[in-house]
Amino acid sequence: MAPLWLTLLFTAVAASKEPLTVHIALSQTPDFDVVHHRATSNAIGVALFGAIGAGVQASVEHARDVAKRDQLRPYVSEGIWDEAFVAALEETFAQKGFTVRESPAPKEDAANSALYLVVRPHSFGIRVVDTTTVYVSTYVQFEVTYGRELGELRRNAFEDSYYMTGDRQVSYADLLADPGELNDDLANLLSQAARRVANKLIYNSEQPGAG
């Protein structure tokens, strides 16, 4: 997926707070991934063949996950981050009275009340969430950096990491047999994540270190 930089300019009055301009950038979005065999890997390879065995086993399990990813990827919209995550961010801010504008990259804002937010997606897709049942679920992992000045942002002054999994847990076989809901499940999770980020930012921006 091509690098995606979005800067959304928000100007509004947060409830009982001074007008706030929020610049949001979403860095390059990751490819859909399936973490199945890598999540259930063990050290048998290294026990038998040392570091070389570990390397071989790692590449084998990665290849098996790639095969699973290729099975499911056709069911996932390429633009899902825009359609779900960014859309939910915009909607949540709009519901709180913010005005949304986009620009190609964060720029220093003359307003005293500027807030800068960068979302760095790490990975998303399907992964084993319970190695006992080997059930899988949708997941998303990303980091958020924010600050009241660009300098703070560049120093990663305030960071927050998010790891969220979907409500539905199924076996991989069941998911593969009926993958029709996969895109909706992922979209719901991304939307939920975006709403949580937006609300946390809006309501806790005076204490950027919170959380």
């Binding site: 050290a43 290294v46 040392g50 570091a51 790891y163 999994t165 709403r195 946390k200 919170a210």
Partner: protein, 207 residues
Amino acid sequence: MSRLAILLLTSMSLGLAGCAFTPATLDLGVSSEVHVAGPLGDVSPLRFSPPQLEDARLDRTRIGHKKNGYGENTADISSAQPVAQVVETAVAKALVDGRHSVVTDGDIRVSGTVNRFWFEFDSNFWSVGFIGDVRCSLEFIDASTGRLIHKADYSGSYAMQKATGGLEKTWTVVLNKALERLVEAIVLDDELAAALKERAPPTGPSL
């Protein structure tokens, strides 16, 4: 440090350090120093009864497994306090963070189920991942009318990656962070706040 050395340390940490065959009991709970503000705080202060949750997990005997370097389960990880009680305390904290009060005979009952409370090792070749996952279903009920105000599933998850297996302290931190995320999920829920705002005023005590 070479990757092989890290791997060996990981295996040792998972399989030996911390006594892989000895059950671990974790003292869990959300830190009182963490406060989250959210839409729940936009609602006029309400009086909630202490949350009462049923432990509906499929496996109630443990909250995770210790594992050795081969990924085999070797001993149980459990909570010092009943899991339902730990989650009830977290839910109550969310309500208080939302500037409401939790009192006996409150105007709104909070009931539901704990559906998942699980700690998972994600042992890779070069590092170990720790994942805490807490899920519950909550019902907010008007105590005077019995009307359902809002019903929703909430979850809190947290993941941490380390070069070595870590010990009970690390596992406790991960699960407590997951509980913090559960608190966030409730405090930041727009739909819950909207439902509570629309709550009809009490019609008075029933006879």
